[in-house]
C-alpha cells in the first residue's frame, strides 16, 4: 500500500485542513463537519424544524462549503511524525481520516522504529481523545488564561531570585535540542535556576558507570544486529528496556535462519521477562547472585579461577570477541561497571556498543533527584517547574516530596493529565498530546526526529518548550520556536547542501533527518573501582516495568490496561509474582492477597504464581496504582452480576514505588529485602489464559498424547542438519472430494514465524485500534470474555525455574474447510472467493455455534452492547470498520478493509496487485517481522515461499480444516536437544 505522506507548510494550513473541536463544544462550535456529523445534524435539524419550527443550527449543517483542498472524504492521509509515548522516540506514520488521527504505524525508514511500533505507542492515540485530559491552564485550582499564568509564574520566579532561592526545572530526559536551547536561555536568565532530569524507570547506573569508565556520563547505543553473542543481565531489551522496538528489529536481523549462524542469546535474570522467554539459554539468579556471576565471568575472562557456567559463558564470549554484547538492566553501579569492563575486554566498543554516537533517550540522574530532596528539605527551593514527570508517584519518597512541595511558593506542572503531582501544584499547564504538537528530538546522536501536529489542538494547551521559552524571553508560536532554532544552527548540524527551507520541508515530510552528531570527547577506558552493592539475600523484591504500563504514565489508557501482560497474561492489575516452589513453601495460592513490607512501607497485592522465576524473588510490576485510574471503576457492561472493575476508592493495581530503595547514588529496583505476610483476603485476577502448558493435566492426560503438538520447536544445530526438524509428522490428510472451490484470483494466506515472535503484543493493540475492538473491563476479562481478535498464547515447558516459553499468536485461521461455516444456520459466516472466512455482522443472529465449533477458539461474541457514548473517544474509531452491535459474532477479518483498499488502488492505477501491497495491521506493527501475509496463488510471493518452507506447519492440521494461517517452527540456538522436539 503506497502511503501518501503529506506535510504542512504553515500553521495556517493545519487549521484549514478541517478540525475537530474540543470536547466541551464539540457539538455546536466546530465549523467543519465529517459525514457522520453531517448526517446526524441534518437528520436532527430536519426533525426539529418540522416539529418545532424553532431556530435550529441548520446553518451549521453544510459540510465543507469551501472544500479544503487536501481533504477527500473517505481517503486517509499519512503524516510522518514521532511518538513520544514510551520514551523511545520511534518514528511514526499517522493515519488521518477526515482530519483526525486514527492509527499510528511505525515509520519504516526511521532508524528507531524501522516500521515496528510498540503497543504503548500504538495505544497512545486514544489518549488524544481522552475526555479527562487537561484542557485549560489552572492557577490554584481556578481556570485562568495563559497570560495570567505566565504573569504569576514569572512573578514567582522573580521572587525566588530575589530571595536567593533555587529555581528547579524537574523534567524527564529532554531530547529536543530546541527545548534544551530554551532551557539554557532560561537558566542564563535565572542564574539561580538548575535543571534536573530523571527517568522514572531509571538508567542512571549505566550513565554513571560510563562516567566512571569513560569520564563521560553517556548512554551508549547498542547494536544487537552485529552481536553474535548476547549476554543480557536482567535487561529486557525485547520488552521494555531502553529501545525495545529498535532492539527487536535488530535482534531479528541476526536471527535469520538462512544465514550460516544466528546470534546466541543468554539471559541471566531473576524474573521471567519477554527477553528471557526468547533466550537460547536462560539462567535464573537473584540480583545478589547475579553480581557474583558477572564477577565470575570477568574472572574467567581474565583467565583466573573460572568455573561452571560462568566459565562456559566467558569462553563463548571470548569466541565472539568484538561481536558480542553484554547489557544489563540492573540499576546498580557495580554491575554496570562490570558490564562496561566486559564489553571493553571483549573489544565490543565501537562495534556493538557505540559510545561516540550515544543514545539520548535516557539521561536522568538518580543522584540529582536525591540532591533535590535534600535541598527541598533544607527549604532552598523557591520554585519548582515540573514537566513530563510525576515525582509524587515515581519517587520512592513521593509522599515526602509532595509534602515538601506544599512549602514551595511556586510550583508548576506541565502535564497532559491530572496526576499525583499536578494535584499539588499551584500552576497547572496542560500539555498537548504529541499528535497535536511540534517537536524536534534527537533521541540518538545524529538522527533528528520531527514531530508535527496532525490535528488542531483539542484544548488550550501549550508545550513546555513554549512556556519555558516565553519565561526566558522568547515568545513565538510553537512551530517557529522549533523552526527558528534550527534555522539558526542548521549549518552546523546539517548534512548535505540543501537550503534551510528545503531541508526543513524534507524533515517535516520524512519525519526525521540525519544530522551531524555533536562530537563528544570520550575518555580512555579506565577500570574504575567497584562500589559496594546492596543486594540483599533472602527473599527480595524486584520492581519491573511491565510492558503495558511502563512507569505508569499511560495508566489511564484502557487499551493498555486490558492488554494482557505477555508473560503473566494478567490484565487490570499488578500482582506479586512468586515462584511455585516459594508459594508452596509459604502456603500461598494464586489470588491470595499478601502484604509486602520493604523499606518500612507496605503494599497489599494478590499472589500470582509464576514459573521460571527465582525462588527468592518477588517480582511486581510498576506503573499501577496511579491516581486517575479510579475512572475505570464502572467500566464494562452493566448487569446484575457485574463486579465493578474497581472497588470503592480503589485504583487499578497498587503503587510499589515507595517500596524501592536508594543506594548511594542510584535507585534500586531489585534486591530489596521484603517481608511477606498473609492477609486472608482473595482477589480475582483477570487472566486471559489460565492453563499455561501444552501438557495435559496429569490426571486426565491420555497416554497417546501427553503434550499437544501445537508448538514446533527445534534447535539450530538440528535445523542446520534437517530444516524440517521439530516437525510433528502427522498423518497425511487426503480427501475424496474434488476441490470445487478453486480460488481463481487471490488466495490470501498468512504465516507466523514463532522463531521471531517475542510476544510483545504490538499486534494485539494494532488490531484493536484498526478494527475497533472494544474494551470490556476487568469483570468481563475475568469471565473470559475479552474481545481481542488477536491473542498471544503463551505456553511453558520444563519445570521449576528452568522453563522454556513459546509464544503463539492466535487469530482466525481462515480455514478453507472452516468448521464454523457449515454450522451457521443463517449463512452469516461464509467463505470468500479469495479464501477468507468472513463474518457478516448484520446477518448474524448469534447462535454461537460457529464459536463452539471453532477448534482454535478465536471467535468473539458481543455479549453486551459495548459501543459507548463517549463522543470524543469515539473519534478514534476506524470509519472503515463496522462497530459491532450486541448479539453478533466477530473475529479477525484479515483486515479486509486494507485488502480492499489496496485492491482498489491497484485497479485505479491499472496495475496488478503486487506482493507486499497489503499490510495487515498486525503484520505492519510487528517489531519482529514475525507475520507474513500475501497471496498463496502467487508463486513468487513471500507467503508462497514460506508455505514451502520445511518449518511451515498448521495447527491442528489433522482436523482437515485447512487453515490458511500457518506457523513456522521455533528454532533455539542450542546444542542439546532439550526435551526433544516436543514443546510441553
Amino acid at each position: 500500500m503506497s502511503k501518501e505522506k503529506r506535510y504542512w507548510m504553515t500553521k495556517d494550513d493545519v487549521t484549514s485542513v478541517g478540525s475537530v473541536a474540543g470536547p466541551a463544544d464539540l457539538e455546536m462550535t466546530s465549523t467543519e463537519w465529517n459525514r457522520r456529523d453531517f448526517l446526524k445534524t441534518t437528520g436532527f435539524s430536519l426533525a426539529a424544524f418540522m416539529t418545532a419550527c424553532s431556530k435550529t443550527p441548520v446553518n451549521k449543517a453544510i459540510p465543507f462549503l469551501i472544500q479544503p483542498e487536501e481533504v477527500i472524504p473517505g481517503k486517509a492521509y499519512w503524516y510522518a511524525s514521532t511518538s513520544h509515548a514510551c520514551g523511545t522516540g520511534c518514528g511514526v506514520l499517522v493515519k488521518n481520516r477526515d482530519s483526525r488521527p486514527i492509527k499510528l504505524e511505525g515509520s519504516p525508514d526511521h532508524p528507531l522504529s524501522q516500521g515496528g511500533l510498540c503497543p504503548v505507542c500504538q495505544a497512545s492515540i486514544i489518549e488524544l481523545y481522552d475526555s479527562k485530559r487537561l484542557l485549560h491552564t489552572k492557577l490554584s485550582g481556578k481556570e485562568v488564561s495563559w497570560n495570567d499564568l505566565d504573569k504569576s509564574v514569572v512573578q514567582g520566579l522573580q521572587k525566588a531570585r530575589e530571595k536567593g532561592q533555587q529555581i528547579v526545572l524537574l523534567t524527564e530526559t529532554v531530547t529536543s535540542p530546541s527545548t534544551i536551547y530554551y532551557i539554557q536561555k532560561f537558566l542564563k536568565k535565572y542564574s539561580n535556576a538548575i535543571h534536573i532530569e530523571y527517568d522514572p524507570i531509571s538508567y542512571s547506573a549505566i550513565l554513571d558507570a560510563h562516567e566512571v569508565n569513560y569520564g563521560k556520563r553517556i548512554l551508549p547505543q547498542y547494536d544487537f544486529e552485529k552481536a553474535d553473542m548476547i549476554l543480557s543481565l536482567d535487561a529486557d531489551f525485547l520488552g521494555t528496556w531502553l529501545s525495545p522496538t529498535q532492539f527487536t528489529k535488530d535482534y531479528r536481523k541476526n536471527r535469520n535462519l538462512e544465514a550460516k549462524h544466528i546470534s546466541k542469546h543468554i539471559q541471566v535474570e531473576s524474573r521471567l521477562s519477554v527477553s528471557g522467554a526468547k533466550a537460547d539459554k536462560r539462567i535464573v539468579k537473584t540480583p545478589a547472585e547475579m553480581l557474583q556471576f558477572v564477577k565470575d565471568i570477568e574472572h574467567s575472562l581474565q583467565g583466573k579461577d573460572g568455573h561452571g557456567i560462568a566459565l562456559e559463558i566467558a569462553k563463548e564470549l571470548k569466541h565472539y570477541k568484538g561481536k558480542s554484547l553484554v547489557v544489563s538492566g540492573v540499576n546498580d553501579l557495580a554491575i554496570q561497571i562490570l558490564v562496561n569492563r566486559l564489553n571493553d575486554a571483549l573489544g565490543n566498543i565501537g562495534k556493538t556498543v557505540h559510545l561516540k554516537n550515544p543514545s539520548f533517550q535516557k539521561g536522568g540522574s538518580d543522584f540529582a533527584v536525591a540532591q533535590l530532596l535534600t535541598d527541598m528539605k533544607a527549604g532552598k527551593v523557591g520554585a519548582l517547574l515540573i514537566a513530563g514527570v510525576n515525582p509524587v508517584y515515581d519517587l520512592p519518597e513521593g509522599e515526602q516530596f509532595g509534602e515538601l512541595m506544599k512549602s514551595i511558593p511556586t510550583t508548576v506542572s506541565f502535564s497532559a493529565k491530572n496526576n499525583e503531582t499536578t494535584e499539588l501544584c499551584n500552576g497547572v499547564c496542560p500539555s498537548p498530546h504529541y499528535l497535536e504538537s511540534w517537536s524536534d528530538d534527537e533521541f540518538t546522536a545524529g538522527v533528528l526526529s520531527m514531530t508535527q501536529p496532525t490535528i488542531q489542538g483539542l484544548g488550550d494547551t501549550q508545550t513546555f518548550r513554549k512556556s519555558i521559552a516565553g519565561w526566558a524571553g522568547f515568545s513565538d508560536d510553537e512551530r517557529n520556536l522549533v523552526r527558528n532554532y534550527w534555522k539558526k544552527i542548521y549549518t552546523t548540524r546539517k548534512k548535505g547542501s540543501q537550503s534551510f527551507n528545503r531541508w526543513w520541508d524534507n524533515l517535516v515530510h520524512d519525519g526525521f533527518a540525519n544530522i551531524k552528531a555533536k562530537s563528544l570527547s570520550i575518555g580512555r577506558f579506565t577500570k574504575g573501582s567497584l562500589p559496594k552493592s546492596e543486594f540483599n539475600n533472602g527473599l527480595t523484591l524486584m520492581a519491573y516495568p511491565s510492558l503495558q504500563m511502563l512507569d505508569g504514565r499511560h495508566a489511564e489508557n484502557p487499551w493498555l490496561q486490558e492488554l494482557p501482560d505477555p508473560i503473566t497474561k494478567l490484565t487490570w492489575d499488578n500482582a506479586a509474582s512468586l515462584s511455585s516452589k516459594k508459594a508452596k513453601e509459604l502456603g500461598l495460592s494464586q489470588g491470595e492477597v499478601v502484604k509486602l513490607t520493604a523499606n518500612e512501607n507496605s503494599v497489599k497485592l494478590p499472589v500470582y504464581i509464576q514459573e521460571g522465576q527465582s525462588d527468592e524473588v518477588i517480582a511486581v510490576s510498576m506503573g499501577y496504582g496511579r491516581k486517575g485510574t479510579e475512572r475505570f471503576k464502572n467500566l464494562g457492561p452493566e448487569w446484575i452480576q457485574k463486579k465493578a472493575t474497581l472497588g470503592d476508592g480503589e485504583l487499578v493495581g497498587e503503587r510499589i514505588n515507595h517500596l524501592l530503595g536508594r543506594n548511594e547514588n542510584t535507585l534500586s529496583f531489585s534486591g530489596i529485602s521484603v517481608i511477606i505476610s498473609k492477609t486472608g483476603k482473595k482477589k480475582d485476577l483477570a487472566l486471559t489464559q489460565t492453563y499455561n502448558t501444552l501438557k495435559n493435566p496429569e490426571n486426565t492426560s491420555p497416554p497417546s498424547m501427553e503434550v499437544r503438538p501445537f508448538i514446533q520447536e527445534t534447535t539450530f544445530d538440528a535445523y542446520k542438519k534437517d530444516p524440517s526438524s521439530g516437525a510433528h509428522h502427522g498423518h497425511q490428510v487426503v480427501t475424496l472430494w474434488k476441490d470445487d472451490h478453486p480460488y481463481n484470483k487471490h488466495h490470501w494466506g498468512m504465516a507466523v514465524d514463532l522463531n521471531a515472535c517475542t510476544g510483545c503484543s504490538a499486534c494485539v493493540i494494532s488490531c484493536q485500534v484498526e478494527n475497533n475492538v472494544p474494551v470490556v473491563g476487568k469483570d468481563e476479562v475475568f469471565r473470559r470474555r475479552d474481545m481481542a481478535w488477536m491473542r498471544i498464547d503463551r505456553y511453558y515447558s520444563g519445570e521449576g525455574d528452568d522453563v522454556d516459553v513459546a509464544f503463539q499468536p492466535m487469530l482466525c485461521q481462515h480455514c478453507d474447510n472452516s468448521p464454523c461455516e457449515p454450522v451457521c444456520p443463517v449463512l452469516a459466516t461464509v467463505h470468500s472467493s479469495e479464501g477468507l472466512n468472513q463474518q457478516v455482522y448484520n446477518r448474524c443472529v448469534g447462535t454461537r455455534f460457529c464459536a463452539n465449533n471453532c477448534p482454535y477458539k478465536v471467535r468473539r461474541f458481543n455479549w453486551f452492547d459495548y459501543a459507548h457514548n463517549d463522543e470524543l473517544e469515539n473519534m478514534v474509531l476506524n470509519p472503515d470498520v463496522t462497530v459491532r452491535s450486541r448479539g453478533v459474532m466477530e473475529k479477525c477479518s484479515m483486515c479486509i478493509q486494507r485488502i480492499q483498499e489496496a485492491k482498489f488502488e491497484a485497479k485505479q492505477k491499472g496495475i496488478p496487485l503486487a506482493d507486499g501491497d497489503i499490510n495487515l495491521a498486525c503484520q505492519q506493527s510487528c517489531p519482529a517481522d514475525a507475520i507474513t501475509f500475501g497471496d498463496l496463488n502467487d508463486p513468487e510471493s513471500d507467503i508462497s515461499k514460506l508455505v514451502e518452507d520445511p518449518r511451515h506447519y498448521h495447527v491442528l492440521e489433522e482436523l482437515n480444516s485447512r487453515p490458511t494461517v500457518g506457523y513456522l517452527t521455533m528454532v533455539r540456538n542450542r546444542k542439546e536437544e532439550k526435551g526433544g522436539n516436543h514443546h510441553g
Binding site: E638, M705, W863, G887
Partner: protein, 456 residues
C-alpha cells in the same frame, strides 16, 4: 376366543368401571371446582413461570452476557435445557404413537397426558433455541421463505437449520395427533356441559362430533395414519438434535453413535418424566383405578431397557475414545470423568446408570413413592447428561490457552426454573380444563361382566 384371552389377562382398569363411571370420573374433574391442592400446584408453577419470564426479558433486553457463558463455552444451560426438554417429549409420542401401532392397550389411560406432556415439553424446548440467540428478534431468519434479502435462504447444511424443521414438525404433528385424539372426548364434555359458553366452546372444539359409526370409522383411520406419521418422529427428532453435536468438530461432540444414544436417552428421560407427573396426577386426581400400578410397572420396564442403552452408549464412547487412538478424544473423556466437571459426570452416571437397576425389583417397581423418587433422579441425571456433553466438551477442547470454566449466572438458573414453570403451568391447566384420560379409548379396554351399559 378373544373374550377368553382377555379374561386371562389382568384388567387394565380397576374398580369395576362401566361406561358411565368412566365418563363421570374423567369429566367430573372438569366439572368440579379446583381443589386447594391444584391451586397450590398452579401458583407454584405460575410463579416459576413468572420468574422465567422476568429472567428471559432481562436477558433479551441486556444481552447474552447475563448468562455465565464465555468465549470458550458458548452453550451451556441454554442448549442443555433445549435437549433436555426435547428428550422429555419423546415418551409421549412413543406411548401415543408407537404403542398404539403395536396395539399396546395399556397405553390408553396414560397416552393423553403423556401426549400433552410432549407438547408442553416441545414448547419449552422450542423456546431455548430462540432465546439463546444473540439477536432473538431476528429468529425468523432461521425460516426458509422467499424474502427481499436476495432472497437469502437458510444454510441447509447447518444442523441448527435442521433443528428448526425437526422441532417445528414435531410440534405440529404432536399437536394435531393429540387434538384429533381428543375430539370424541371433547364431544363428551360438550354433551355434558351445563353452561352455554362451555357448550359452545367444546362444541366448536369437537368439530360437530356425532359419535356415529361413520365418524368413528373416519376417526380411527385418521388416528391410525397420524400414529404412523408420528412414529418416525420419535426416532428422527432426537437424531437431528444429536446432529447439532455429532456433525461438529469438537471432541466429545463429534460422535457417530449420538443418534441412537440420544433417542434412547430421550425415551429414557421421557418415561421418567411421565412417571413423575402421573404418580402425582393419579394420586391428586384420584385416578388410581385408571392409571394402575401395572402402568407404572410397564413404564419402569421401558426405563430399564432404555437406561441399558444409555449405559451402553456411555461405555461405547469411552471404548471408541480409547480405540480411536485420538488423543484429543481420549482427553475429553478422561476430563469428563476426572476433570473439573467430574462431579457433574458422576451425578450423571449415578442417576442414569444406577437408578434404573432398582427397577429390576418388583417391590420397588410397585412402590409408588420409590418409583417417584427414582424417576426424579433420572430426570436430574438426564439433564446432567446433556450438561456434561455440552460443557465438558467445550470447556477444554483443543487449545489449552482457551481452556476455561463455566459457572451459571442467576439469570440462567432462573430461566431453567422458568422452563419448568411453563411446563407445569401448562400441565396444571391441562388437567383442569381438558379430559386428562382418553375416555373413548379407556372404554374400549374395559371388561364387562354383564350386559353393556346404556351409554355411548
Amino acid at each position: 376366543m378373544a373374550n377368553h384371552v382377555e379374561s386371562l389377562r389382568k384388567p387394565l382398569v380397576h374398580g369395576n368401571k362401566n361406561l358411565k363411571t368412566v365418563t363421570d370420573d374423567v369429566v367430573g374433574i372438569m366439572d368440579k371446582k379446583p381443589t386447594g391442592l391444584w391451586w397450590i400446584g398452579f401458583i407454584i408453577a405460575a410463579s416459576a413461570l413468572t420468574l422465567g419470564i422476568v429472567a428471559v426479558s432481562y436477558q433479551i433486553m441486556t444481552g447474552i452476557g447475563t448468562w455465565g457463558l464465555n468465549k470458550t463455552v458458548g452453550w451451556a444451560f441454554d442448549i442443555t435445557n433445549f435437549v433436555f426438554w426435547v428428550g422429555i417429549g419423546h415418551a409421549g409420542t412413543l406411548i401415543s404413537a408407537i404403542l398404539f401401532l403395536f396395539r399396546q392397550k395399556w397405553r390408553t389411560s396414560i397416552n393423553r397426558s403423556a401426549e400433552a406432556m410432549t407438547i408442553f415439553a416441545v414448547i419449552c424446548a422450542g423456546l431455548f433455541p430462540i432465546i439463546h440467540m444473540g439477536r432473538p428478534w431476528m429468529a425468523y431468519w432461521m425460516l426458509p421463505y422467499p424474502n427481499t434479502r436476495g432472497p437469502l435462504w437458510v444454510n441447509f447444511r447447518s444442523p441448527l437449520a435442521w433443528d428448526v424443521f425437526a422441532i417445528s414438525t414435531y410440534l405440529i404433528i404432536s399437536a394435531v395427533f393429540w387434538y384429533i385424539g381428543m375430539i370424541p372426548d371433547l364431544a363428551t364434555v360438550r354433551d355434558r356441559a351445563k353452561t352455554k359458553v362451555k357448550k359452545w366452546i367444546f362444541g366448536f372444539l369437537s368439530f360437530g362430533w356425532s359419535g356415529s359409526f361413520k365418524t368413528w370409522h373416519r376417526y380411527e383411520t385418521v388416528y391410525g395414519l397420524l400414529a404412523g406419521l408420528a412414529a418416525p418422529l420419535v426416532v428422527s427428532v432426537h437424531t437431528i438434535v444429536s446432529f447439532d453435536f455429532a456433525t461438529s468438530a469438537i471432541p466429545g461432540w463429534h460422535t457417530t453413535t449420538f443418534p441412537p444414544y440420544f433417542v434412547a436417552g430421550a425415551v429414557f428421560s421421557g418415561f421418567a418424566m411421565v412417571l413423575t407427573l402421573l404418580i402425582i396426577a393419579r394420586k391428586a386426581m384420584r385416578l388410581e383405578e385408571y392409571i394402575t400400578v401395572k402402568h407404572i410397572e410397564n413404564m419402569t420396564k421401558v426405563i430399564i431397557v432404555t437406561g441399558g442403552i444409555v449405559t451402553l452408549s456411555y461405555a461405547t464412547e469411552f471404548f471408541m475414545a480409547w480405540y480411536s487412538g485420538n488423543g484429543y478424544e481420549q482427553f475429553v473423556f478422561l476430563n469428563r470423568a476426572m476433570g473439573p466437571f467430574a462431579w457433574a459426570y458422576w451425578i450423571m452416571v449415578g442417576c442414569n446408570l444406577l437408578t434404573p437397576q432398582f427397577f429390576w425389583f418388583k417391590k420397588i417397581r410397585t412402590n409408588m413413592i420409590m418409583v417417584f423418587i427414582l424417576s426424579i433422579f433420572i430426570n436430574i441425571g438426564m439433564w446432567f447428561e446433556r450438561f456434561v456433553i455440552i460443557v465438558t466438551s467445550l470447556h477444554r477442547d483443543f487449545l489449552p490457552s482457551a481452556w476455561a470454566m463455566y459457572k451459571p449466572s442467576y439469570v440462567e438458573i432462573a430461566t431453567l426454573i422458568g422452563s419448568f414453570g411453563l411446563f407445569f403451568t401448562l400441565f396444571m391447566l391441562f388437567i383442569r380444563y381438558l379430559p386428562i384420560i382418553s375416555i373413548g379409548e379407556v372404554k374400549s379396554v374395559l371388561q364387562f361382566k354383564g350386559r353393556h351399559g346404556g351409554e355411548k
